[in-house]
């Protein structure tokens, strides 16, 4: 046979280690510029308060927020609030995953089950779940139960709907391959449908996360005895702007960190999707 093919493989593998060397700045330009812009903003904010351009009672200032934060840590109440909110989030989000993923899979796989449940899912998905809060408080009281319920309701639909879409949009070519090897329905499900749904599922979790945080804050502001949202409501009512700001920062930071973590996992799987379409 021809020897020409022998040159083929090495030529292909060469492209593997072509990562070009770039300077630290060039690699992280966006991050560096972003950081500088945030720092400038914080300085300007502090300066504007110090120069009395704005009233610190309304706007607070970076230093005041830090001071309020340390005071709250020293008082120790912040831990109680964090624990409450954390527990509400953990239980609600966990429950939503446990219910949403299997139900989404079943609804994606069984057309009839989907027909039965779809009207309810659609109606509830379209309703802002916060609107259900008065009902939920009547049913579950103002303690843990109502917050878990609102977080659950906020989160379960994005998770469920995305999982369902994932199962339904399995690549037809993958199905053909599996069928061609004689795969049974059950094998098709475990070896093709399930794994190809993972990226969709992660998107569902990420979307659910945002809804969950809204649920916690609003739920606690509406009626609670502790939690970050409760703390913010009390501080707001007593004009302690600094403490409200601390609450905002805690919520924003936890949202960003969790979203970022899920995004990183998602990216890993996203690489499958994009590149598999050669």
């Amino acid at each position: 046979m021809s020897a020409t093919t022998d040159t083929h493989l090495p030529a292909l593998t060469e492209s593997e280690d072509e990562a070009p060397r770039r300077s630290f700045y060039a690699q992280h330009e966006t991050t560096i510029i972003g950081t500088i812009s945030v720092i400038c903003f914080l300085f300007f904010w502090e300066y504007a308060v110090a120069e009395k351009w704005v009233n610190a009672l309304f706007t607070s200032s970076p230093l005041r927020i830090i001071k309020a934060g340390t005071a709250m840590v020293q008082e120790g109440t912040i831990w109680q609030d964090l624990a409450t909110s954390g527990l509400e989030f953990g239980l609600g989000f966990g429950l939503a995953t446990i219910v949403g993923v299997p139900l989404g899979i079943l609804m994606g796989w069984y057309r009839r089950l989907n027909a039965v449940l779809e009207p309810f899912v659609n109606a509830l998905y379209a309703t802002p779940r916060i609107a259900l809060l008065p009902l939920i408080v009547i049913w579950f009281g103002i303690d843990l139960g109502s917050k878990v319920a609102i977080v659950f309701l906020s989160t379960v639909f994005p998770i469920l709907v995305n999982t369902m879409v994932g199962i339904r949009t399995v690549d037809r070519d993958f199905i053909k391959v599996a069928r061609s090897f004689g795969a049974s329905d059950r094998q098709l499900f475990t070896t093709v449908a399930l794994p190809s749904t993972v990226p969709f599922l992660l998107t569902g979790l990420r979307l659910g996360l945002g809804h969950a945080l809204i649920g916690i804050v609003v739920g606690e502001m509406y009626g609670a005895t502790s939690g970050i949202g409760y703390m913010m409501a009390v501080a707001g009512a007593t004009f302690q702007t600094d403490r409200v700001m601390v609450g905002i920062i805690i919520i924003a930071a936890s949202g960003m960190i969790m979203t970022q973590m899920l995004k990183m996992i998602e990216m890993r799987f996203e690489k499958w999707r994009v590149d598999s379409r050669g």
Partner: protein
């Protein structure tokens, strides 16, 4: 070729039609295909676009319902996919969540025909056969198109099918890679000693690879002509420049052109 033995694959008067929703009518795609492939033979199928070549291959694989006639593998009628056949699709369709090795052993896993150790041993053997030793634990997105198509071929070969069905496997590759892959496929098939049915749009590819080329007519497809490729058994890319190769090419091209003219795809001159 030993004509006294039973053909590996035999299609007898194969007819397939589909109901077309848009025009609310049944369309005949295959209108009585007779074709037999002997053990160890590589037969290419060419024909005008949309003439039903893939449908035919789907029927041989057992994925497509047959309306009339039958397909025999070793004398037994095909009703569903089986481990004696394997399909290589045009889109490599490698599972992106599986490594190269895991992709290759997929068929064995589905057919549950080997222990885990044997399966992985067989998988490694095939990865080596298609020239990808060292890439066992890579993921498909880390491979080039040509390499992915090799994995695709290895995946089809893994359950040790007797008949390999290839549906334009190189269509998505660039011209150069495609030529290399043609040589590579012949090597692989020789080593693995397989019978193969190969669909392509490229006439030169068909001639280069096969013992015989079956030319399908425009839809509803029949066999227009079966061209015996009387070229030396040892094939190299240089062959493509020889007069006999070009004559065959011109001949087959004329056949397809005639058929395409019938569908209005090409205006008759």
């Amino acid at each position: 070729m030993n004509t006294s033995t039973m053909p590996k694959m035999q299609a007898r008067g194969l007819r397939i039609g589909f109901y077309n929703e848009r025009i609310k009518k049944r369309l005949n795609v295959l209108d009585g295909i007779d074709l037999s492939v002997a053990e160890g033979e590589l037969v290419c199928i060419v024909g005008p676009s949309g003439c039903g070549k893939s449908t035919f291959l789907g029927a041989v694989d057992g994925l497509t319902r047959i309306d009339g006639g039958d397909v025999l593998i070793d004398g037994h009628a095909v009703t569903k996919p089986g481990p004696d056949r394997a399909m290589v699709f045009q889109h490599d369709s490698l599972f992106p969540w599986r490594t190269v090795l895991q992709n290759v052993v997929y068929g064995i896993e589905i057919q549950n025909s080997m222990s885990k150790d044997d399966m992985n041993g067989r998988g490694r053997q095939l990865v080596e056969l298609v020239g990808l030793k060292g890439f066992e634990d890579h993921f498909p997105h880390e491979l080039s198109g040509g390499m992915r198509q090799r994995v695709n071929i290895a995946r089809a070969l893994a359950p040790d099918p007797e008949l390999l069905l290839l549906d334009e496997p190189f269509a998505a590759l660039d011209a150069q890679t495609r030529e290399f892959m043609q040589v590579e496929l012949l090597k692989i098939l020789n080593r693995a000693k397989k019978t193969a049915l190969f669909i392509t749009h490229q006439i030169d590819e068909a001639i280069f690879l096969s013992n015989r080329v079956a030319v399908f007519s425009a839809r509803p497809a029949r066999i227009k002509e079966i061209v015996s490729i009387d070229l030396p058994k040892e094939r190299s890319l240089a062959l493509k420049h020889e007069t006999r190769f070009r004559d065959l090419q011109a001949h087959i091209w004329r056949l397809i052109e005639e058929e395409s003219a019938r569908t209005g795809l090409v205006t008759a001159s």
